[in-house]
Amino acid sequence: MGGPITAALAGGRAGGRAGRSLWLIWAIALAAVPLLNKLPADSPFYLSDFVVSVTGKWICYAILALSIDLIWGYCGILSLGHGAFFALGGYAIGMHLMRMIGSRGVFGHPVLPDFMVFLNWPALPWYWHGFEYFVFAAFMALAVPGTLALVFGWLAFRSRITGVYFSIITQAMTYALMLAFFRNDMGFGGNNGFTGFKDLLGIPLQTPEMRSALYVASLLALMLSFLLCRFIVSSKLGRVLVAIRDAESRVRFLGYSVTAYKLFVFTLSAVLAGLAGALYVPQVGIINPGEFSPANSIEAVIWVAVGGRGTLSGAILGALAVNGAKSWLTTVAPDLWLFVLGGLFVAVTVVLPNGLIGLLRRRKRDEGNGQ
């Protein structure tokens, strides 16, 4: 009797290898996108700027999907308000981009963004100070969603709000934020939000170099987020999270503070969602209160369900696959998209509870057992 038994703890789960090679293929494909964009335009492998920017957006969505999977797939916390953390990260970077417009705005004011001049505001509100520094804005893009999640989570988890009740109040949270950000007197540009950005770190946003740089930054962020999440879910803490998902009260009975664990993972997840939003906004060039729309959060949950809840590569796959399908379908049959999305969710729930990843792994296993 001995060692080899407990070695089971150190290794990954069955199917880990399939997940890893899949991940590698995706990583190589995604890393190739900006390189192919550098080819001459008449080359058969050339990818246009448009493809680069669309793929860059999807990568941000994949980070958001990872963040949702971390709490939902592993800890059983279904947040239907993660779009709010994403939007807050986006708004924080948006504030920096607005400050960087400087006197190049329509009204030419050296400090105030156009919408403030339009509203006859005499000076910058206090909470806009500091955002002229990129590092500060980048920090706030993570800190604001993180802090909101910490406070919100503390109130909810401490009162043992779980399951569908938690999902509902997260919807209410993002809805309330949407209404708040629609208001002009909030100082975030009302329903127009922020747009008309000029440059970031001194480089114009529209240049191919900047597009590639943002793309690469997003891809790096996705890889680091993936590695971080993988470290977490394969640690003992990750096993406590799964245990909480399976039988919360039993975990409490073993002496673990379920509230502390949920708070940790929920806050971290919100920070990742904020990171995704911060990388997204410079690439799309706009952020407005529509990002807080409850439907956005639900859509992101569907990506995770489609890809495969509870597997990190599943979340990434889901975000890429669903958004790929969406891009294609909204050009050929825009009216159908919402039905397809709903149908997809139902189909996955009923037929493929482990999502696309589950399907791939099952096929792999069947091949393995084939002889």
């Binding site: 001995g2 089971a8 245990a243 399976d246 009260s249």
Partner: protein, 252 residues
């Protein structure tokens, strides 16, 4: 009435004159029980005799109206459930709860004594002692061959053993086990009796059970509860031939 197993040893569990009433109904009525270190004690009694209530009193879930409840030198009536659990009293409830999506080993790992704060648990690695402890418990509960299986794939009996294993990881001095063999096959019932005999000795075990076959297989000192008090106590053969016990069991 009690004969000390080891002379001069302080009892692990000492209940005297314990009374619990629910809305005027006496669930426990001047109950007195003494359990010695290393003893394996079986508690039997008809439904409603107060067996579960007795466990609730020991674990601090229910406070007695009066009476003495001591674990070694600790007065349990003054402590809450968490403090009592930390003193070294483990309790297994009737319904097994293990973590279905974790393997047997991982279930045991989470039950290990030690640090519980998230940021420390995030970087926790099993040291040699902890691995040895897990392997030891795996062997003890007979789940070595199933170590890597997700708990969700275990049979009903194996789940019960895993849960007993999880209690053992915390190294309790006293284990309280409520109806472990309900729903088990005959074979599993026998295995469970073997398991409990193995784990007693280093620690005291109190088992509540209906199943006479099982009680017989345990072959240890039996206490019969009836209407919240001790009706008879002694070896199973002695107890089974007691006319009062026969009346209580067969008279209904």
């Amino acid at each position: 009435m009690t004969t000390p197993a080891a002379p001069a040893a302080e009892p692990v569990l000492y209940l005297d004159g314990v009374t619990v009433t629910f809305d005027g109904f006496r669930a426990l009525n001047e109950l007195s029980i003494v359990v010695e270190p290393g003893e394996l004690r079986t508690i039997i009694g008809p439904n409603g005799a107060g067996k579960t209530t007795m466990m609730d009193v020991i674990t601090g879930k229910t406070k007695p109206d009066r009476g003495t409840v001591r674990f070694k030198q600790h007065d349990l009536t003054r402590l809450d459930e968490v403090r009592i659990a930390n003193l070294g009293i483990g309790r297994k409830f009737q319904k097994p709860t293990v973590f279905d999506h974790l393997t047997v080993v991982e279930n045991l790992e989470l039950a290990l004594k030690g640090e519980r704060r998230p940021l420390i648990v995030l970087f926790a690695r099993l040291d040699a002692d902890e691995r040895a402890r897990i392997d030891e418990v795996l062997t003890l509960v007979g789940l070595t061959a199933r170590a890597r299986a997700p708990a969700g794939l275990l049979s009903h009996g194996q789940r019960q053993w895993l849960e007993i294993g999880m209690l053992l990881m915390q190294d309790p001095e006293l284990l309280l086990i409520d109806e472990p063999v309900a729903g088990m096959t005959d074979h599993e019932t026998h295995e469970t009796a073997e398991l409990l005999r193995r784990i007693a000795g280093e620690r005291s075990v109190v088992v509540v059970e209906h199943d006479m076959e099982f009680v017989r297989a345990l072959a240890r000192r039996v206490t019969v509860l009836h209407e919240g008090r001790v009706l008879a106590e002694g070896p199973i053969d002695h107890v089974q031939n007691d006319p009062r016990v026969i009346e209580v069991y067969l008279g209904r």
